[in-house]
Every structure is written in structure tokens, then in C-alpha cells.
Symmetry: C2
DNA sequence: TTGTAGGCGTTATCAA
DNA sequence: TTGATAACGCCTACAA
């Protein structure tokens, strides 16, 4: 086994001490011009790279951020992650990603809890959580306890999470603006029979959106028919199934708001398959404004949650905190906005 | 600042030496039952977790694999990554993901090369590369040189890469079977005017697929009209643009094979927007078999590249290598297969 | 079965 | 400006 090349290797060949090589590497102290040059040469000769593990151990910091989410494969989460990675890298940090996929959002918190431990062992400097159990309105007590303890070990940023009274940063989107715009729009198109599909009752984005929709409709004196809330998960398949249920009803809604774009795409899929014309016979809207909305015809009208802005804010908030630039602004709201496309038209 | 809890903290309180605690932790040597118990208690009391960084430094291994790819957000890549993460975790490894997004596939190799350095500094035990410059048929010499050097530092697994004569493992999908099936199918539907859209000429998956399509058509004595190869990138937008070009031609093809599902979805989008019925007036097929194909109507007929199998094989191959279970099978072929859905029908 | 001591590759403190 | 030297937290001979 070839011996590793270390600062000692470099130091020896350059005729200096390891400390000097280290200083050269970090640039935190001056080193004589001639030695500089020699060190530089040897480093290039060996194509030497400092060992980040050793560096981390010594520095007591890894310059890496843990990021826990359900599934990068979902366009919204994926977009957030990618932007987070980009911004982090730009600021000199890297991201350790964990997908908790297998967890059942409503019950089993094991995967996520294991991941938290796992990620802490890796000594991340900060932890970012998006989706999963932090969205759960009835959080399991042991999970709550764990996440509370967490808060003392490492700074935490939650994206669109729901847990109250937790000492962490919250980056959340204010759905209200976007939803009001959406409801205004639908009402202006004469819709009064509006459904809401996808998502679990116990999950925050679901209930929050549903409530705001109801409030928003109430401004027009329009009631929400509970039969038209179809509970399911957040997948394309959920959209397909839920729309099918809706279409089998005697009293159909004229417009369907979906808990996210994936569900909207699924809903559109079923409508088309069952010969229901969108938007002529049925209007459909989504949430998130992911690229999916522009994949289908008609393109889907949606509420933009600004995933990139969420990501950027989350990373910047975390790094500011880590670098001592404290704020006491623990909560940051990102505005949402309606994006008009082709999937809604006048009710008939 | 609170002092960190280390094996010494535990050792002291348990009245044993740090070595014993370490042995308890690794389980690699026996430790007396009564001490076992005491150690265990203290560990729980403090909620102690071993510091992975220190462990890695000592072990000279990180149990993490670097994974370099262009963009997790693309469904195919995302699927591969997710499965890779799952399998790796199951085998006790974690994955450090890097998205090279910003690189221009054809020219600038900087982002990817920087990432390689970056990832090596983190002392990953192995490196997996999928997409990006390894697909480039005219690889930049300095990139080749770099990647060759790489090969001496860390085991390398390439997924569907093209670089020949490199000492690494290759997991690649054999497109031939799937493409032959696709061509057989299209010909059986009376298609003779078949286009191919998306992808760059200089990129392996593009050319490989195109060549095989041509060969496959040749079996039927059908020629390929070069005008119907529209070069573009691999995005939904590419599909939209390319289809538009195709539809503006006087002599239109009756079927379009797309370099991947995203392009296929884009192509379908344009066809529908321009009032061309799919599949009645135009058949469309894709590659990859991602979930996108089932989002749209008609659902898209595609060649399944088995992303999960690619991922699993890649990870298993890597870990087998790392754990000394060497094989000399440096190349593993994953079969592809045609998946029939609704986007193709008889030519007219 | 247990403890001592040295090493993993860097950084940082303290003299010089 | 430089060089010893002691951390950082864990693992593993080696000796007991």
C-alpha cells in the first residue's frame, strides 16, 4: 500500500515544517515568498489535496449541512435541493442529502429519526429539514422529543414545517396570497363548485391550504362542500385516483384545486382519459409551480411556492447563523403567487 | 462552550478505559458483561454518538461513496440516485451527491473536474459517475488525463459512460434489445418514416441510439432520413422545439423516437398544441421509462433502461470491490426492454 | 478481558 | 516568519 501524501511529505521535500505547509494551505498566516513557491511546486508535483476529514477533525467543523427530505425525485423537493446545493457550494459548504422515502408520513418516524442520528454522527454543522414528519399536525411525542433535543446539538432550519415552539429557524411560504389570487380567479370564472384533492388531513400543507381556500371562498359567500375534499397522498397516482372519484359523483365540481402539481397532473390525466375536457368541462389548478405544469397540455395553472427562493433563504439563514452573523428573525415568510396557464376556464 | 462528549467521558464515568468503550462501540472485541452494561447506561444517559469524522480518520475509510451526475432533478437520474442511496444505506454506506448542472456538456469540464477534487478531499471510498463528460464522444484531453489519474486514487464505477481503456467498472445498458423491439413494433405498425429527436451528436447515448435505430431499420430495408434527426439537448423544451421543427416540414415523419422521456413529453406537448393527434397522426416513443411517461395522455411508449437495476448493480459492484470481494468482470450489461403504452399506433 | 500508547492528517498555540 | 508540539476523537497493536 502506497503511503498517503500528507503535509509532512510536502514539508520534507520542500525543506520546511508541516506547520508552514499548513499555513500555506489555509492562507491564514504569511509564509515567505521563496518557500511559498517551493511548497507550491511540490504540491503540484504530487497533485496533493488536503484531507478534509483530518481538517474537519482539527477544525471541529465540517462545512457541511445535512438536508433531510422525503424524496428528491419529487420535482418540488428536487428543485429546492438543487438550488440549496448550488447556493451552499457558492458559500463554501457542501450538503449531505438524506431521503426518508420509506417513512410512512403519518405513523412510522423511524427512518427519519435514524437519519437524524446518522447525519449528526457525521458532524454536520447544521441541519435542514423539509417535508416529512415536521409537516405532521399530530407529531409523535418521541419524535417531538428527539427533534427538541436536536435543537441543542446543532442549528436547525425547517422549510415549511409546522412544529411550534421549537427553537429553530423557519422558512415558510405564505400560501394565503397565492390562494386568494387563485380563488379570486376561479370565482371570476364563475366557479362555485370547487373541489380540493390530494394530501392527508393530518399533514400541514394539506390542511393549511384547504382552510385558506375555505376562508377565501367565504369572502364570496361560497361554501365548501366537504364531499369534494378527497384525501390521498401527494403523488401523480393520487391525482388520478381522486379525480376518478370526483368524476363518478352525480354532483360534480366544476373546478379542482390539487394539493400539488403532481396531483394536478394525475387529475388531468384521468380527466382526459375519461373524456372530460380540461379546461372546458373541468378546471384544474395545482401548487408548487414545478416544471411538470409545463409538460402537459393544457399547461397547469398553479400557485408558485418559489422553491428556489425557499432554498436560497434556508441556506443563507443557516450559514449566516453559523458564521456568527446572528439574527433574531427566526421566521422568514416567502410570498406565493398565482401563475396563470391554460388549465382553467369559465365554468359552465 | 460545552465540552464534547467523547469515549473518554463515557470511559471515565463507567470506570473503564477509552479502549474498552471503543471495543464496546465497534463490537470487534469482547467486553465483560458488567462493564458492557455500565457503558451502555452512560451512553444512553448522554445520548452519546461516536464522532464519524474521528472514526473515519482513524479507520482510513469513510464508508461513503461519491456520486457525480448532472442533475438529480431529471427523473432518470433522480431514480438512479434514489435507488443507489437506498442500496448503499442498506449496505452501511452513505452517498455524497454532486450535481454538475452548470457544466456545458460539450465544452467546459471545469465544474465536473472541480467536483471530483472536492469529493476526493472528502476521502470518499469510491466514486460513481453517471452522465456528464463521460458520455462525451470527444472528451477533452485534460479531462481524460484527470479521470485517468483518478483511477489510481479511488475505485471508479461509471454508469453508461463511454470512455474506453479506462481502468474502472462499467455498468451499461444494452440499448440494442430494446431498440430492436421498438423498431420491430413501429414497422409492424407500418411506420417507415421515423424521426429521431433530442440529444447532441457528440454525446454517447444520442449517437448510440441513433446508430442502432438505423441498423435496426436497415434489417427491413428502410433507410433513415437524416433530415429527421433534430439535434438539441435532453430537456422537455428540446422536445417541444424539435417537434415544432418536424411539424413544419413538408415531408413529415409518421413516428418520432425521442432520445429520452423528457424530450418525448415535450414532443407530445407540441404535437397536441399544434393540433396533431397522437398517436393517430403521429406516433411518439421515448427512452428511460421514467414516471413522466405515465403523467401524460396518451401515456408514452418507451424503452426501459432499468434505472433501479443500474443503480443497484453499480453500488453492489463498488462495495464488493471495496470489501475485497474482487471480480474481474469489469463490465456489466443491463438489458433494456420495450414498454408498450399508448403513444404509438398504426401509420396512415 | 483490559489498559497504555501511538497513529490517522490537520490546525493552532506558543516560543523562538 | 518559522518550527515544535499539543490537540481533535477514535481505533488498534501490544503488553499485561
Amino acid at each position: 500500500m502506497k503511503k498517503n501524501i500528507t503535509i509532512y511529505t510536502i514539508a520534507e521535500e520542500a525543506g520546511v515544517s508541516a506547520a508552514t505547509v499548513s499555513r500555506f494551505l489555509t492562507g491564514k498566516a504569511k509564509v515567505n515568498e521563496s518557500k511559498r513557491k517551493r511548497i507550491d511546486e511540490i504540491i503540484k508535483k504530487y497533485n496533493y489535496r488536503p484531507n478534509a476529514i483530518a481538517r474537519n477533525l482539527s477544525n471541529q467543523a465540517t462545512k457541511t449541512l445535512g438536508f433531510i427530505m422525503p424524496d428528491v425525485t419529487a420535482p418540488f423537493y428536487g428543485t429546492v435541493f438543487l438550488e440549496a446545493e448550488r447556493v451552499a457550494l457558492e458559500m463554501g459548504y457542501s450538503i449531505l442529502l438524506c431521503n426518508t422515502m420509506n417513512d410512512n408520513v403519518l405513523t412510522n418516524t423511524n427512518v427519519e429519526m435514524n437519519y437524524i442520528d446518522f447525519i449528526l454522527e457525521k458532524q454536520v454543522d447544521g441541519l435542514i429539514i423539509m417535508g416529512g414528519h415536521i409537516d405532521n399536525l399530530r407529531t409523535a411525542p418521541e419524535y417531538l422529543e428527539r427533534i427538541n433535543a436536536l435543537t441543542n446539538q446543532v442549528p436547525l432550519v425547517m422549510i415549511n414545517g409546522e412544529i411550534r415552539g421549537l427553537d429553530c429557524y423557519n422558512i415558510r411560504s405564505d400560501s394565503k396570497v397565492g390562494i386568494n389570487q387563485l380563488v379570486d380567479y376561479l370565482v371570476s370564472l364563475n366557479h362555485e363548485k370547487i373541489a380540493f384533492i390530494g394530501g392527508y388531513m393530518d399533514i400541514q400543507p394539506t390542511m393549511r391550504r384547504l382552510e385558506i381556500i375555505q376562508e377565501s371562498l367565504a369572502r364570496y359567500g361560497i361554501g365548501f362542500n366537504d364531499k369534494w375534499f378527497i384525501e390521498d397522498d401527494f403523488s401523480v397516482q393520487a391525482g388520478k385516483d381522486s379525480m376518478e372519484k370526483l368524476l363518478k359523483m352525480n354532483d360534480r365540481p366544476t373546478a379542482v384545486i390539487c394539493v400539488n402539481d403532481m396531483v394536478a397532473v394525475g387529475a388531468l390525466h384521468t380527466a382526459m382519459k375519461m373524456g372530460v375536457k380540461v379546461p372546458e368541462e373541468m378546471s384544474i389548478a395545482g401548487f408548487d409551480n414545478t416544471y411538470l405544469t409545463e409538460c402537459v397540455v393544457p399547461e397547469i395553472t398553479t400557485v408558485d411556492l418559489q422553491p428556489k427562493k425557499l432554498a436560497k433563504t434556508a441556506i443563507e439563514t443557516m450559514i449566516k447563523h453559523l458564521e456568527g452573523d446572528m439574527t433574531d428573525k427566526k421566521e422568514i415568510i416567502i410570498k406565493t403567487q398565482l401563475v396563470l396557464r391554460d388549465s382553467c376556464s369559465i365554468a359552465r
